[in-house]
């Protein structure tokens, strides 16, 4: 099942989502971010998947956020299912969703520093330290 891809500017994001809801796309299935570190400008691309069960159609919405403020408006008021996904995107990539009711970390601990799924966040950079084990330099 191929989904129709819409590349839209950041300013039209919320209005497009609203119009999609009115077109009969009842469900927001997925929201994720792609980090195009040193490959594309601006860096972060938001990818949202919509599903219309009545028309049996899918649509993919893609937009880039500005590098300066990394913020985009939240769509939780239109699709409540975006709640967890936006929190995950904030947690993993540091994207700020304006007017999100509860924008906190969801998978990582609250006091975690950094955003793990960014491309410049190396995996294995934090050595695993077990409790009271002798410290390794």
């Amino acid at each position: 099942m191929n989904s129709e891809i819409l590349n839209i500017p950041l300013n039209d994001y919320k209005t497009t989502v609203e119009s999609l809801k009115n077109e009969g796309f009842e469900m927001m299935m997925d929201l994720t971010v792609v980090d195009w570190f040193r490959k594309k400008e601006p860096r972060f691309e938001i990818v949202v998947q919509f599903l219309s069960t009545s028309h049996n159609k899918r649509k993919t919405l893609k937009t880039f956020v500005n590098d300066e403020d990394l913020s985009i408006s939240s769509i939780t008021d239109i699709y409540p299912s975006a709640n967890f996904y936006e929190r995950e995107a904030f947690d993993m990539f540091g994207i700020i969703f304006e007017n999100h009711p509860d924008l906190t970390r969801i998978l990582m601990p609250d006091d975690w520093v950094g955003h793990p799924l960014r491309k410049n966040y190396g995996s294995g950079r934090i050595p695993v330290q077990f409790k009271n084990a002798p410290k390794v330099d």
Binding site: M29, D30, D35, K39, N56, F84, P101, D110, N132
Partner: protein, 458 residues
């Protein structure tokens, strides 16, 4: 005076021993430092908007707010993360008023292992090993969705036999996953025999999986380009056995539970989810079908040749916990139909795509051909390259829509691999189901959504 000193030193000696026993180190203070509870914020930080999202629409089972209760009667209770009925390490913060739940916040992340990050470091050939560990009750679906997405990016079609093997295995997996859901759900509510029954029947299917794939869980059987191995000799006999035994046992379950007044009283009109709420919270799978909406990706957006099979979609209108339990039982019957048809119509031919770029040579060839050895080495070390682009593929897992989004930059590893787990999304609806209902129904509500924490936290 002297005696006192001796006693004290003995006591401290004992403490050190305890420390040593617990941590294998003389250093004290382990018991103080180990109590830093997950620092996720409590409910009071939430605003009206968030509460509105959590409450959902008013339904039949809601308790009306009593005007006379004061704030003193409200308290916040933690449930989990180590609680047997939370199906893993789910933690719930519930605000109770008497024994009515007023607000709930699911707190997740206790099983987060960074699988999406790992997915960027494994090549496409190794990818299924990673994704199969996400939803550990339906591992074959995770492998299937990863493979389908990779195949869509490359633009290949697997042979007919591979497709049918995939369908056979995933539908058996759906049965085993639903059996666990019925078993653990029964245990949570108090039907302890159900626990034993469900796991007993699941064993039949797991034995077949072990025979076919070599493992009971985390098979890494479905790979980009086909499946890892052909079905074993005499597999029809095992499938016949499954087809014979499972319906009989399901009849036993029905005899035990379907007209059982306790079971009915405990589940009917509890945890109601309307179709609108399902749409709003992105709930798919059995929970959506139990609230009266016929939607199954196997029918509407078929994958892997499932459109050729003849089966029905069970739909119930009540939307309560009982309906969600019943839909799962009915779905097992439909899956058995598909398994039977795929057994009788298993096509002959290769079980892997005959594309040298993707498929490693058979093991026998390695002993006789140098080129085959080089080819084998290249595929296992470098993997195969996938053209640039991105793709989202969704399939119907036992819990709902399981999607995989892969972005490729032309190399042999995914640039970004994201899995849309159905449990992650379904868990958002937990506050909607649980608010304004008694605390005793909370456990039934969790069990009916059937979340797998491996899929939630990834």
């Amino acid at each position: 005076m002297k005696d006192y000193k001796v006693k004290k030193s003995k006591l401290s000696n004992f403490k050190n021993k305890l420390d040593f026993w617990a941590t294998n180190s003389e250093e004290g203070g382990w018991n103080i430092s180990s109590t830093d509870e997950g620092s996720q914020k409590m409910l009071e930080n939430e605003n009206e908007e968030q509460i509105k999202i959590q409450t959902g629409t008013e339904v039949l089972d809601d308790f009306v707010i009593d005007e006379e209760t004061s704030d003193d009667e409200r308290m916040i209770v933690n449930m989990g993360p180590q609680h047997p009925s939370t199906h893993g390490v789910l933690r719930l913060q519930a605000e109770l008023e008497g024994e009515v739940v007023r607000r709930v916040k699911p707190i997740i992340g206790y099983l987060h292992t960074g699988m999406e990050k790992t997915g960027e470091e494994l090549n496409y050939f190794q990818g299924p090993t990673n994704t199969t560990r996400m939803d550990y009750l339906s591992p074959l679906f995770n492998e299937l969705v990863f493979s389908l997405t990779t195949e869509k990016l490359i633009g290949i079609e697997v042979p007919e036999r591979a497709k049918t093997i995939r369908i056979l295995m995933t539908e058996l997996n759906r049965i085993s996953s639903h059996l666990v859901a019925l078993a653990t759900g029964g245990m949570d509510i108090g039907a302890l025999s159900m626990m034993i029954f469900g796991f007993r029947e699941r064993e039949l299917i797991l034995n077949f999986f072990e025979k076919t794939t070599g493992l009971r869980m985390n098979h890494n059987f479905i790979r980009p380009g086909g499946v890892a191995a052909d079905l074993p000799d005499g597999w029809q006999k095992d499938v016949q056995e499954i087809l014979k035994v499972i319906p009989e046992k399901l009849q036993d379950y029905d005899d035990m539970l379907l007209d059982n007044p306790i079971w009915k009283g405990r589940l009917q009109n509890v945890g109601i989810l309307t179709t609108e709420e399902c749409f709003a919270y992105g709930i798919t799978g059995p929970s959506l079908r139990a609230s009266g909406y016929s939607w199954d990706l196997r029918k509407s957006q078929p994958y892997s040749g499932i459109e050729k099979f003849d089966f029905e979609i069970p739909v119930l209108n009540e939307g309560d916990v009982f309906a969600r339990w019943r839909v799962k039982v009915l779905e097992i019957f439909e899956s058995l139909k598909i398994v039977e048809q795929s057994m009788h119509n298993m096509p002959k031919g290769p079980y892997k795509i005959q594309d040298k770029k993707i498929t490693p040579p058979p093991r026998k060839r390695l002993d006789e051909s140098m080129e085959a050895l080089i080819h084998h080495f290249k595929i296992y070390t470098e993997g195969f390259k996938v053209p640039e682009g991105d793709a989202y593929v969704a399939i119907e897992s036992p819990r709902g829509e399981l999607g995989c989004y892969i972005v490729s930059d032309g190399s042999s590893k995914p640039y970004r691999m994201h899995v849309r787990g159905p449990s992650f999304c379904n868990l958002q609806a937990l506050p909607v189901i649980m608010t304004d209902s008694p605390i005793a129904d909370a456990v039934a509500a969790i069990a009916s959504l059937d979340p797998v924490i491996g899929d939630v936290d990834r």
